[in-house]
Point group: C2
Amino acid sequence: MTEAELETYLHEHIPLSRAMDVRVISITDQRVTLGAPLAPNINHRDTVFGGSAASIATLAAWSLLHLRLTNAGLPSRVVIQSSIMDYLAPIAGDFTATATLDGDWDAFLRMLTRKGRGRIALKAALDYEGQKAGQFHGEFVAFGKDRL
Amino acid sequence: MTEAELETYLHEHIPLSRAMDVRVISITDQRVTLGAPLAPNINHRDTVFGGSAASIATLAAWSLLHLRLTNAGLPSRVVIQSSIMDYLAPIAGDFTATATLDGDWDAFLRMLTRKGRGRIALKAALDYEGQKAGQFHGEFVAFGKDRL
């Protein structure tokens, strides 16, 4: 899946990503980076609303997990179970969220294949002007084909 | 502040709340309940996007803290430091978030008055069709007038 394809998918299926003007900046097997401008995500202090920060981090983590499962030949239903957001600094302009794995991918795939269900953690770093402005940690559960 | 005034404030200053079609359902000194419809908050599984759930919970908690500080004669800059979201069940329709205190209000006000800065926790319950569908816990810091 290309950056443009993922962006179209997000905008078509998750309208809030369109309202936030989320852009897909880069995709590799190891990380997904999404970006968004300040204007549609601004708060009453002229910085990024915390809900927007949590949302773009969630989208980046979900996207990485979805893409890796698809590439592994195991397209699955992916559900978020819990998340932690640490807001480290105010964001006063365009920002990005870069998601990476925060768990054991091989163990996750083994569970998903054997039991039809696997759990894995991902993290995402929010960046603004080269500085880390926030940190997301999410626990996700994937349900294999039998559970779709 | 009335429900209508808070709703106007949110929509004018936090455009994502307008994109989510957030409504202010009720305000008391003890709790703030916000609501939103599914359509603008839907995901690719036809349930509520996790980022929307986190966002409305954050807005409800911030609103309660803002209103209580204003009522106490201590209008302050309120910043979210961290949050935890537990997603308990999928939400397939209109939903609400009800925020309440999760900390010691009097101790918070004493710190804010003495040191110009106080920290307090709030929680918010997400409800869908009378069932609890999610739980939010947020740590907020208020900066008093000297720090504005």
